[in-house]
């Protein structure tokens, strides 16, 4: 290569030397990468072998049977395809109950999550010294499985949708609080300072200075959580909280053979998740685009 370093190369090392040091750096990186990859593969294999040796039935013997159950469900549903619309209508009330549990739990959980997330975010917190306390509260709420809370509450309050709702809402506060506080950290503090300068109190600063910035992100996390909660409330039906899960448990039990009904319930759940996803993206779109129009106007 002709020496064309007309500009900016003043006092640079010759190209050969740069080459050499860069190649050394590349070799080092590749070595580290290779070692890491080898460790990763070794851990995956040994972990699998340990897990497989503890497996009651044996992984390889059972592997080919994985699709037996879905195949049985599908074939029975296929045979009784004419009953599908009837089954869908039959389980609609149970679906509504499941959806209600999820919706109320998400709403209450999101409200609690907003409050706790504000209290647990540096720069926004009402009592900065208590941030670690509120963080630990959020951790605890996330750590306790909702099914455990539901079982305790069902024991105390009796079966039904209310214990399930409380259990899911409790978990939602922890999960959304954590996500919301990460959103809050990216919010600009300038409007908050501006509002503080006019003498606004803490709640006013949060409601007017932070909420408008973070609302679209809050909404998308809350909608994702709503989807997860629909599934969670269906699962809680298995332990007596009512709704779709209870029906699914009965329909899915081995031997009784009401797989056509199980298929209808799965279909309902799938349609619901798709609907929530679609409605959610329309809402998010409107929230962000509505804002753009405001800005342009």
């Amino acid at each position: 290569m002709p020496d064309q370093t007309a500009h900016g190369a003043g006092g640079s090392a010759p190209a050969a030397q740069i080459r050499e040091s860069y190649m050394a750096q590349t070799r080092r990186k590749r070595l580290y990468g290779g070692v890491l990859l080898a460790i990763f593969i070794a851990l995956m294999i040994s972990g699998f072998m340990t897990a497989d040796s503890r497996n009651a039935g044996g992984f390889w013997e059972g592997l080919h049977q994985i699709f037996d159950f879905p195949a049985a469900v599908l074939s029975e549903a296929g045979e009784k395809i004419t009953e599908l619309p009837g089954n869908l209508v039959k389980y609609l009330p149970a679906l509504v109950e499941t959806l209600n549990i999820a919706a109320v739990a998400t709403l209450i959980g999101a409200m609690g999550g907003i409050l706790l997330s504000m209290l647990a975010t540096r720069g926004l917190a009402r009592w900065p010294r208590l941030i670690p306390l509120f963080r630990r509260i959020l951790d605890v709420m996330r750590a306790v499985p909702d099914i455990v809370i539901a079982l305790v509450l069902i024991f105390v309050l009796g079966g039904g949708p209310v214990p399930a709702m409380i259990a899911i809402a409790f978990h939602t506060v922890g999960a959304l609080g954590k996500l919301f506080s990460e959103v809050n950290e990216n919010a600009s503090l300038k409007p908050v300072d501006g509002l503080a300068s006019v003498g606004a109190n803490w709640s006013q600063r949060m409601i007017l200075g932070v909420m408008p910035q973070v609302a679209p992100n809050y909404l998308s996390y809350a909608l994702l959580r709503f989807e997860i909660n629909i599934r969670a409330s269906a699962i809680l039906g298995f332990v007596g909280a009512g709704g779709l899960g209870y029906e699914l448990k009965n329909a899915m039990a081995w031997g009784i053979g009401r797989y056509d009904e199980a298929a209808a319930i799965f279909l309902l759940l799938f349609i619901t998740i798709v609907a929530v996803d679609q409605i959610g993206s329309v809402l998010r779109d409107r929230l962000t685009h509505g804002r753009k129009e405001e800005l342009l106007a």
Binding site: M1, P2, T5, G8, A9, A13, A15, R19, M23, R30
Partner: protein, 273 residues
């Protein structure tokens, strides 16, 4: 060599490029001028096939480009390098890796995933960086470099592609005058030494005059001027930019020596009066 016939691009009801025809017989350094929204960027993006063509055709060395899809389209993109106003490098990767991205069309996803580039390619990347005067920055992250240096990394990535055409979309619009000169001179040198075709969108008239063999003027998606820099009169420039008599070429100049020209002072004085 390069034939663009009746090339049109529509976005909904807007026509960004309207029946543009350009013929280039041999490698040249071509400057495209026009005001913002005249369709300059869209034209270049269609040449690189970043945008699809609404109608019309692009052919290069008797090969139809505008209809390519899939792997053939990506192979064309590897032959037709693009340089952007905002450099479009991967900020968190080192300079040499960014230059090596110019060879991605020849690499498999597996090799890319594990960052396995042949040693010859790494050597060539450093040689290209050396040619552009930024070899000492080779191991740094791209984001640690100044704008002018980043743009030269982008040029190095383009050269790594060993392209027949280099497209430059406002390569100096975000640079200070000194760096703008370095970048434009690098592009000119690539054209003269390697015989590659260079097509650059430029936002200042005097840059186009100084570095290009041929100037194309666009207004509202149409080509309204196509000729040598000498043929580009002040009246023609006013026509391209849709400006009135107060338009002065020097007033928008980014050249360092333009500041000495009395015309600027006159123009400023007139503007202030």
């Amino acid at each position: 060599m390069l034939r663009i016939e009746q090339l049109t691009k529509k976005f909904g009801r807007n026509t960004a490029v309207d029946a543009a025809s350009i013929h280039v017989a041999k490698p040249a350094m071509i400057g495209i001028i026009g005001r913002s929204g005249a369709g300059k960027s869209t034209l270049l993006r269609m040449l690189n096939r970043l945008e699809d063509v609404s109608s019309g055709s692009i052919s290069f060395e008797d090969r139809e480009i505008s209809g390519l899809t899939g792997a053939a389209k990506r192979a064309w993109q590897a032959e037709c390098a693009m340089i952007f106003q905002q450099f479009n490098l991967v900020p968190r990767m080192d300079v040499v890796s960014n230059v090596l991205h110019g060879t991605l069309n020849r690499r498999s996803t597996f090799a890319t995933l594990f960052n396995l580039y042949p040693s010859e390619d790494i050597h060539r990347a450093i040689d290209i960086l050396d040619r552009l005067g930024i070899a000492e920055h080779a191991p740094k992250r791209a984001e640690a470099l100044s704008g002018g240096q980043q743009q030269r990394v982008a040029i190095a990535r383009a050269l790594m592609q060993d392209p027949k055409i280099i497209l430059a979309d406002e390569p100096i619009a975000s640079l200070d005058p000194m760096n703008a000169q370095v970048v434009m001179e690098a592009l000119r040198r690539i054209h003269e030494e390697d015989g590659r075709m260079v097509i650059a969108n430029l936002h200042t008239l005097d840059t186009a005059r100084r570095y290009c063999d041929r100037v194309i003027g666009m207004r509202a998606g149409r080509i309204v001027f196509d000729g040598t820099p000498e043929q580009l009169t002040t009246d023609m420039a006013r026509e391209i930019y849709g400006a009135d008599a107060s338009f002065s070429e020097e007033a928008t100049s980014t050249e360092i020596d333009a500041l000495d020209r009395s015309a600027v002072k006159a123009a400023v004085a007139k503007a202030l009066a």
